[in-house]
């Protein structure tokens, strides 16, 4: 079957209802190959006709089929789909179809003509032309030919203004290329990710990508604190040789090494903690002053805002990608056409992938065949069981919260040697490690029909646990703030210890669960299989560690640096461990969907920690002896003072601020936002209904088409009976069996006709 032709979907509206080939019908001989070479506007013949022609079916029927409204609809969706992708108000003609073997001069000329004859052609920037070229699915050499032709035409037609535009476009293009070049060389951990993807597919890679993403969002946070808080403080200490007023009583402690673990001692008198920062105004040069207090608070606000923006945009993007664009129920379809991971390189992974796909399909088909219809008693049983397990979970959550509170209280009031500073972080980490195992056991009892639901329930419970423990802690810290000399530093230390203990436990778990288990599986207990990499648990751990970072950055400005180091080490440890110890999982992991969920968790935890820090800034009395806000009633006071200052200077500002902060204005804003949300929701519901209607209409179109085809068939049959003398009639084949005509699809119908004509009237084709 040779396909020397270019088929181009032309603008559908022009094509709609128009018989393009009306004039062409003179000759019965119609060869596909010369269609491409003639090509004066007749290229629009679509593929269905090709098929019909190649299979000897009658062209007339094929043409008719092609011009059926439902076929046009198909073309239309195609074009529309492309246009939305291009995000361009000007429509770029879309090219679909195999130019593949039509490598010749003719084809490329034709396509080049198509491009240049477009009325919008002159307005197009070079960029757009290149995008169009790149998007063509043809070979490189023909693309090059098309490009040459197009650009030669362009240059001839260009006026002065367009030439300038063209040059600017070119420079912009070059700029973009060089940026891409730089980005490519800067891309982090590229080869590692490739290796992991080669061995484990996209699922495990998604964990590492998430880690990398967290690493990247911590960099700006770190740079902000470094640039605006830490460096000024260092410079201040350097210039003012006698640092007074900000050191605590227990001065001169030397570095011993143990501080790295517990974060006390020497560290207390460094820039690591809140307490060390000065409340003074630093004179940079005469006339320029650096207010440390403002810098500290506003930098903090800045990085929370930055994180909020980054998180919100990525969660929106991910949500749109997965839930809005990806809506619809296409389970089987996705499993088949989206089944293979093209990045896999290892034989073992490929074998497991085959196996996993097979079992997944069989499982799904079994579920389809026997829809589970549980009896009422079974349903009741499960309902009560789930109530019971949820109560148990709640009880566990409450008791772990109380345990942490109890330990913190005991640690404070009694001086017990073994309850050292590590008691609390160890306890929390142990709870975070053990309780999820208990939850897992409970979920086994609950008997969820879908593994997906079980996974989500598990994740929600685990994350609630983490949230509860952190809330108890923060509450405790704030409640007892007045009893300590410098509670902010103390809080910073506590969070530092949590981060460190969490880090050590992550390493330990990797070692025990992955390395030791592999050794056991290999050499001791042969029954034990190699461990699988638990993407869910590991990602939740990352989210927890990031939450600690957000919670602590205000009290321990350099925490983001520590988290950066931690993430780097975890990346390499996990990378080595996963490649050395783990085997690819048989359970499929839907990376895009779970990514959205992880982002949602991360966002919730971000909000929680922001609220916690904001409460501390607004409501809790800062310590008297240390930190940038000593002697003030609340940290937030400096902002109100600043605004008051402004009011004196610029009276008009007063009106604005008063207006904005007036209850009426705030109420109006809230109402407006509410109305906006409601409106958008209504529009969304409307769209959903529209989609359902359109789908129904589409189904009806299909039925219409079948109906009409049957009528056509009948008419032809009657004609044939009446008029047996005209042998070159398209449907003049004697052997149609009636059953085949009533087949559900037009394609089958053509096939029947094709076979029939092949049998009977092949002579005239």
């Amino acid at each position: 079957m040779s396909r020397d032709s270019a088929y181009i979907y032309d603008d559908v509206p022009n094509q709609m209802g128009e018989y393009q080939y009306e004039n062409q019908r003179s000759g019965q001989q119609y060869e596909m190959s010369d269609m491409a070479s003639k090509g004066d506007g007749k290229v629009g013949l679509t593929r269905r006709k090709t098929w019909a022609a190649h299979n000897g079916a009658d062209l007339e029927t094929a043409r008719l089929l092609e011009n059926l409204p439902s076929r046009q609809l198909e073309n239309l969706t195609n074009t529309l789909g492309r246009d939305t992708v291009r995000l361009n108000h000007r429509r770029l003609k879309s090219f679909h179809g195999p130019f593949q073997h039509g490598d010749g001069e003719e084809t490329s000329t034709e396509i080049a003509n198509m491009v240049t004859n477009d009325p919008d052609f002159d307005d197009r920037t070079e960029d757009e032309i290149h995008t169009l070229l790149k998007g063509m699915t043809t070979t490189l050499s023909s693309k090059r030919a098309i490009r040459r032709k197009v650009s030669s035409k362009r240059k001839r037609q260009l006026g002065w203004f367009t030439r300038v535009k063209y040059n600017i476009g070119m420079s912009w293009q070059h700029f973009k290329y060089s940026i891409a070049e730089v980005m490519y060389s800067l891309e982090l951990w590229k080869s590692h990710l490739k290796l992991i993807e080669g061995h484990f597919g996209t699922g495990v890679t998604s964990y590492f990508l998430f880690l990398k993403w967290l690493f990247l969002i911590n960099i700006p946070v770190f740079l902000l604190t470094l640039g605006f808080v830490v460096l000024p403080q260092v410079l201040y200490r350097w210039y003012e040789n006698v640092p007074t007023g900000y050191q605590q009583t227990n001065t001169s402690k030397s570095f011993t090494g143990a501080e790295l673990l517990d974060g006390r001692g020497w560290f207390e008198n460094t820039e690591l903690y809140y307490g060390f920062y000065t409340n003074e105004t630093i004179q940079i040069t005469s006339g320029y002053k650096y207010h440390m207090r403002y810098a500290y608070l506003f930098t903090c606000g800045g990085y929370y805002l930055l994180c909020l923006i980054i998180l919100a945009t990525s969660i929106l993007r991910s949500y749109r990608k997965y839930y809005i664009e990806g809506s619809g129920d296409f389970n089987y379809y996705f499993k088949v056409f989206n089944g293979w991971d093209y990045g896999i390189t290892s034989q073992e992974a490929a074998r497991l992938k085959h196996k996993s796909l097979y079992s997944e399909l069989v499982e799904y088909l079994a579920g389809f065949k026997a829809p589970k219809d549980k009896s009422l008693t079974a349903k009741c049983q499960i309902f009560w069981l789930r109530v019971l397990t949820n109560v148990t979970v709640l009880a566990l959550l409450a008791s772990s919260g109380y345990l942490i509170y109890y330990i913190s209280i005991t640690m404070e009031t009694k001086d017990i040697a073994w309850l050292d500073v590590f008691a609390m972080p160890l306890c929390i980490t142990a709870i975070n490690l053990l309780l999820p195992l208990v939850f897992h056991g409970l979920e086994q009892l609950e008997d969820y029909s879908k593994p997906k639901t079980e996974l989500y329930v598990h994740m929600v419970r685990t994350m609630t646990l983490k949230a509860v423990t952190l809330c108890v802690l923060v509450n405790f810290w704030y409640g007892r703030s007045s009893r300590r000399m410098c509670w902010e530093t103390f809080m910073g230390q506590e969070i530092y210890r949590l981060v460190i203990v969490d880090f050590i436990f992550t390493l330990l778990i990797t070692f025990l669960f992955e390395f030791v288990r592999k050794i056991m599986a290999k050499y001791c207990v042969k029954r034990l299989s190699l461990p699988e990499f638990n993407i869910g648990r590991n990602t939740l751990d990352l989210i927890y560690s990031q939450t600690l970072c957000w919670l602590g950055t205000f009290y321990c400005p350099l925490l983001s640096c520590i988290v950066l180091i931690k993430l780097i080490i975890i990346f390499y440890v996990k990378r080595v461990s996963v490649l050395q110890n783990c085997k690819p999982s048989l359970r499929p992991w839907r990376a895009a969907r779970s990514h959205t969920i992880f982002l949602a968790f991360l966002f919730c935890f971000f909000l929680l920690s922001t609220v916690a820090v904001a409460c501390g800034i607004i409501f809790v009395l800062p310590s008297e002896e240390c930190g940038p806000y000593k002697g003030q009633n609340q940290t937030y006071e400096i902002v109100t003072e600043l605004i008051d200052d402004w009011r004196e200077d610029e009276p008009w500002l007063t009106y604005i601020i008063d207006f904005i902060s007036s209850p009426g204005c705030i109420a109006a804003i809230v109402i407006l936002l509410g109305m906006g949300t409601y409106y958008i929701r209504l529009v969304m519901i409307g769209h959903k209904e529209m989609v359902i209607l359109l789908e129904q209409q589409l189904a009806l179109e299909g039925k219409d088409k079948n109906f009409l085809l049957q009528i056509l068939q009948n008419v032809n049959k009657q004609n044939r009976k009446k008029d047996k003398k005209t042998p070159d009639r398209p449907f003049a084949s004697p052997s149609d069996d009636v059953e085949s005509i009533t087949s559900p699809g037009g394609r089958k119908f053509i096939r029947q006709v094709a076979e029939a004509s092949a049998r009977g009237g092949h002579g005239q084709m």
């Binding site: 198909e74 070979t139 490189l140 490519y184 991971d341 085959h354």
Partner: protein, 184 residues
Amino acid sequence: MGGSHSAFTEQELDDYQTLTYLTKKEILHVYKRFYTLDPEKVNLDKNVKLAMDDIQKLPELKVNPFKDRICKVFSSSGDGEMTFEDFLDMMSVFSDQAPKNVKVEYAFRIYDFDEDDMISGSDLKEVVDRLTGEQNLSEEDMQQLIDNIFMEADLDDDEFLSFAEFEHVISKAPDFINSFRIRL
């Protein structure tokens, strides 16, 4: 190595950059990968046409159940043999930067085994058979699966998936763009 820098003139690299989704560095990297497939032949002539077996030495293709289709689709001569430009084309389509619609187009061609620009039941069967590898679905299960897929995606009820139908559904698969990718 065969001196990958000297292999192309600046003009050629510029051209490749304009016509593919790759940057110059990536193009040189692609060349390196092409070179390792058969160093001797490529050394003699960088525009050499490598046989399908050679191309399939690429680790990603080696284990890919659709390797012969991929080679055929991207080969400019249509027989699975590939020149460097074809190879570059392939890597460009499989790269991160290639937009979804281009990837969908090539995915459609790969899965269209009989090359009639429609994915029929037999194409689907072939896809599933290759995906499951050594294990095979029973006849009944296979029929059920194919029916289900048509039920989900065959909008005009003709027992074929046209490109538009294929694209309509696959563009809703959020994982598609990640799984239809070969990292450089």
